[in-house]
């Protein structure tokens, strides 16, 4: 394994000065001073119009008629939109959605019509006057009944839908995509195993709960130019999907401009395109007028992507020495009414559902199943959080059954560099064993602790995690870099600052290469007209991918700087280096030329003429070793994932034996960041992700009634953590086994930090009480009931 820096980015002294330091966020002042502008904060003048949406009250129904006459006559109404205005499909990976419903509605909350009015209040009032007649149909509300024999087809035209080549829709079923992995001989391995454990785990749906709701302002001007200001993780992908979906109106990519200021949290919920397409489409009906569409908190819950629920049937075979020999994992995903994005969650999970283990015989079936619940989609963890709950619960149970320590069992089977992955490619360098050991040490694994309180017991748990970015094999990033007169730098990229610290990390990477301090580098949120391409800010890939694009731009700029010096002073390029914002020379110690002296105006030569000029550079990165083509029956033959990030989570918790109340006393999380470009920001991801993950297992979940209506679409009934609901102590641990192709060795960590949270609680609850809870969330009520049940048997 190499630890050399790629692309010759290593500084002269050998010591990194900027990368690896906990630099202060370059957006910190903006956010703490109130200067940070979010979409809803932007002013659009007195011409701004407001939109409100009419939504289906039924989970499944045929639209018989829509009468908009009363709404059209209402005060302040400018225009009404229905499906008839836009009979166009769209979708991220599979085109199965319409902008507004056409003949059928398939979930409670699906958009049927939109009202554009002069004020928000008038739009909302008029929306209530639109009369929609429905023929109500029987909804399919869980994935198992949707795949039962004779189930009605939610999308009868599935076989005609356009989709990416790595999806395999099952015609005449509700299975929109089936990801299969077949490796080795699972049947034989189970027959020969010393011990086989088979069980089912259930995970409900979850909401992202970014504190900023979705909001979009769209303007289609008199020159047929569509500009969309939007709270999005994906400006270029939005531009692409708007241009494709609205192509029948004559729009092309150059006519569509997406501007994305600061975003108030994403977590996957603002990836791809969801409600924004309605705003963009409606704006085309009122030329020259900007139209604002802002989701209420309720809509934020029921009509954006939700994290998909899953029923996981898991069978694992082991030998008495603890060697895992076979895994069979069947994942039945409740993917919702439209799977244009969610089907790729299913795909990603299917590819990696063995978890971070070396497994010679594998049967994975990951089924993307249409149901009449809101569309599933990306959520931090992208399927991995869901299947790790059962998988890591299972690993503890197996270790206990064969009499092995749970940590030792995991160490023995943990996947390491060079091991073969489920789809045949080879595992990247990883610090998994170090992560396990440091996590175990942080919670004093193996040391039994007794509570001082006779009513409570202490439990400890451990769970491993892994995740690869899930993205098209040719997802790419690009960057522009330019110097200013004072030697400061502007960098243009199109990744999004979601809070993770992306802008700061890009500044650190460029600053390291160019010897410029972070405070002198400005990186801003994108505008697709001006900033170069980025696929999306998802998949925990931008530090790696966009970071490489920025590193390349910085290296290109450095080369141009050296060329000017060479032209004027004659020093050979390879004798030059950058230090403290100046060009220096290895063969002439007296030479030092500050960057600010020439990066715009150039250098004057002896005859009075000038050389050089503004230093500008660009960089791009696209992985050239990935390939999503594989055999649909076995999943073999491709190289769909770029690399995995791994780690371990451990907790010490205290449980009240009477009430089931759980206090997380200590939580430790080790993640292999390859290299932490900014350790403070990595720790921020560890703390934030861990708390978000703990909430999914301790109390959050979406509750639907028997008609498919969400019962808890607000923060009163869907509790997210407050400042009180955090562990007493969080121990972040950064492991750094470099990713050979990463910028300074870095790989992504953003999503990973919540993946281990659910199973680690399940394992610690078992450790404390001897009860195994196999469905999420593990609420106080569920624990109390399990205690009672156990005492009765």
């Amino acid at each position: 394994m190499t630890t050399d820096y790629p692309f010759e980015a290593k500084p002269e002294s050998g010591e990194l000065k900027t990368v690896g330091t906990s630099a202060v966020r370059i957006d910190g002042l903006d956010k703490v001073s109130g200067a940070a502008e979010f979409v809803d904060d932007m002013d659009f003048g007195p011409g701004l119009l407001h939109a409100a949406i009419v939504e289906s009250p039924h989970a499944y129904a045929r639209i018989v008629s829509i009468d908009t006459s009363k709404a059209e006559a209402a005060k302040g109404v400018v225009r009404i939109a229905t499906g008839k205005d836009f009979p166009y499909k769209f979708g991220m990976y599979m085109e199965d959605r319409y902008i507004f419903a056409q003949d059928y509605v398939r979930f409670v909350g699906e958009q049927v019509a939109g009202v554009i009015a002069r004020s928000h209040r008038e739009a909302v009032q008029a929306a209530k006057l639109i009369e929609v007649e429905y023929e109500v149909l029987t909804p399919l509300l869980d994935p198992k009944s949707a795949v039962a024999d004779g189930a009605e087809l939610i999308h009868p035209d599935l076989e005609d839908y356009t989709h990416v080549p790595w999806f395999f829709p099952q015609t005449d079923t509700n299975i929109a995509h089936l990801r299969k992995i077949r490796k080795g001989d699972t049947e034989k391995a189970f027959a020969e195993a010393d011990y086989v454990l088979e069980d089912t785990y259930e995970v409900p749906r979850y909401a992202h709960c970014a504190i900023e709701p979705h909001v979009t302002v769209s303007k289609f001007d008199q020159a047929d130019r569509l500009t969309v200001w939007t709270a999005s993780q994906s400006p270029h992908t939005q531009r692409h999907l708007f241009a494709e979906a609205l192509a029948p109106l004559g729009l092309t990519h150059k006519d569509v401009r997406v501007i994305t200021p600061y975003v108030g949290g994403g977590f996957g919920g603002k990836a791809g395109v969801s409600m924004e397409i309605m705003g963009a489409a409606m704006a085309t009906l009122v030329k020259g007028r900007p139209v604002k569409l802002r989701w209420t908190r309720e809509q934020e819950f029921y009509n954006t992507y939700q994290r998909q629920g899953v029923v996981a049937e898991l069978k694992v075979g082991v030998m008495n020495d603890g060697t895992i020999t076979a895994v069979e994992h069947k994942l039945y995903w409740d993917a919702g009414a439209y799977v244009e994005y969610g089907a790729n969650v299913v795909n990603a999970a299917g590819l990696s559902a063995t978890g971070p283990y070396r497994v010679p015989n594998i049967t994975n079936d990951s089924l993307c199943i249409y149901t009449n619940l809101p569309p599933g989609g990306p959520y931090r963890g992208f399927g991995y959080s869901e299947f790790h709950f059962g998988l890591e619960s299972h690993m503890d149970r197996i270790a206990e059954a064969i009499g092995m320590d749970a940590v030792e069992f995991r160490r023995k089977n943990a996947i390491v560099e060079g091991d073969e992955l489920a789809y045949g490619a080879s595992m990247n360098p990883s610090g998994m064993l170090e992560a396990i050991d440091k996590t175990a040490a942080a919670i004093d694994w193996g040391v039994e602790e007794e509570s001082d309180n006779p009513n409570t017991v202490i439990g400890k748990g451990i769970a491993l995690f892994w995740k690869a970015p899930a993205m098209p094999p040719n997802s790419s990033s690009a960057s522009f870099l330019k110097f200013n007169e004072d030697g400061s730098i502007n960098i243009s990229v199109s990744g999004m600052e979601l809070g993770q610290g992306y802008l700061t990390v890009m500044a650190q990477i460029a600053g390291e290469v160019l010897s410029v301090p972070v405070e002198k580098i400005r990186v801003e949120t994108p505008d697709t007209d001006r900033n170069p391409y980025e696929w999306q800010t998802v998949a925990s890939h931008v530090t790696w991918s966009s970071g490489l694009a920025v590193e390349k731009a910085a290296i290109e700029a450095r080369g141009k700087i050296f060329d000017v010096i060479h032209q004027v002073y004659g020093y050979e390029d390879d004798s030059l280096y950058l230090e403290d914002e100046a060009v220096k020379c290895r063969t002439d110690e007296s030479f030092s030329k500050p960057l600010r002296d020439f990066v715009i105006d150039g250098i004057q030569t002896e005859d009075g003429t000038w050389r050089g000029g503004p230093i500008v550079a660009s960089g791009k990165f696209m992985p050239e070793f990935t390939n999503a083509n594989s055999d649909p029956e076995t999943g073999q033959g491709g190289h769909p994932n770029v690399h995995y990030t791994v780690g371990a989570t451990g907790v010490v918790l205290e449980i009240d034996k009477d009430t089931g109340r759980i206090w997380v006393r200590k939580a430790a999380l080790a993640v292999d960041a390859g290299r932490a470009i900014n350790p403070d920001l990595v720790n921020g991801q560890i703390t934030g992700g861990l708390v978000q993950g703990l909430a999914t297992v301790l109390y959050e979940d979406m509750r639907f009634d028997e008609n498919g209506k969400l019962l808890n679409p607000n923060f009163t009934d869907y509790k997210i953590p407050t400042a009180f609901d955090i562990p007493d102590e969080i121990i972040p641990i950064i492991v750094e086994v470099p990713q050979p192709d990463g910028p300074f060795g870095a790989r992504g960590v953003g999503e990973h930090t919540m993946i281990g949270a659910a199973p680690v609680i399940a394992n610690a609850v078992y450790n404390a009480l001897g009860v195994r809870i196999k469905s999420m969330p593990i609420t106080q009520e569920k624990v109390a009931m399990a205690i009672i049940e156990k005492s009765e048997t």
């Binding site: 703490v32 504190i211 108030g264 809070g499 920001l681």
Partner: protein, 153 residues
């Protein structure tokens, strides 16, 4: 209805509708955008402002209820540069997306005004009405505690 209100030290006289909430008037009529719209029912605390020295949820207060009162937002406390608390928030990389930050800055400012040396529990209690989905609160709590320790007794 007539509304006379002082916002960040400036006097305003406006004609508002009876149903207008303070948050919307601040944002749309006065142009103060740091209080955010997060839930419109008092759950999330993004719309927190200081009214006569005490934090309130501006989404739950009718504009006319603020008649004759004095409102302070983050813009108001930032005119003369960052407070010690704000500086510590910046240095500690306390916030991520920053959407909740204006509300949290105000809740923590109110706490420190009343209790210059709060305990961790005090800080958690003072911030319990401000939801943050990004940070897990730890780096925010740490900064407030540091501001307390550094503050005058």
């Amino acid at each position: 209805m007539n509304l006379t209100i002082k916002v960040n030290g400036e006097d305003w006289a406006l004609d508002v509708a009876p149903a207008d909430v303070l948050l919307d008037v601040l944002r749309e009529r006065i142009g103060v955008k740091s209080p955010k719209i997060g839930c419109e029912r008092g759950d999330c605390g993004s719309c927190t402002v200081i009214m006569d020295g005490r934090t309130v949820r501006s989404c739950l207060i009718l504009a006319v209820e603020a008649d004759g009162h004095e409102i302070t937002t983050v813009e108001g406390i930032s005119y003369d540069g960052m407070s010690e608390l704000q500086t510590l928030f910046i240095q500690n990389n306390s916030f991520q997306c920053g959407f909740c930050a204006p509300g949290i800055v105000l809740s923590a400012t109110e706490l420190l005004d009343n209790n210059p040396n709060p305990t961790r529990h005090d800080v958690q209690e003072a911030l319990a009405g401000n939801l943050c989905r990004c940070t897990g609160y730890e780096p925010i709590i740490d900064a407030v505690l540091a501001a307390g320790e550094g503050g005058s007794e």
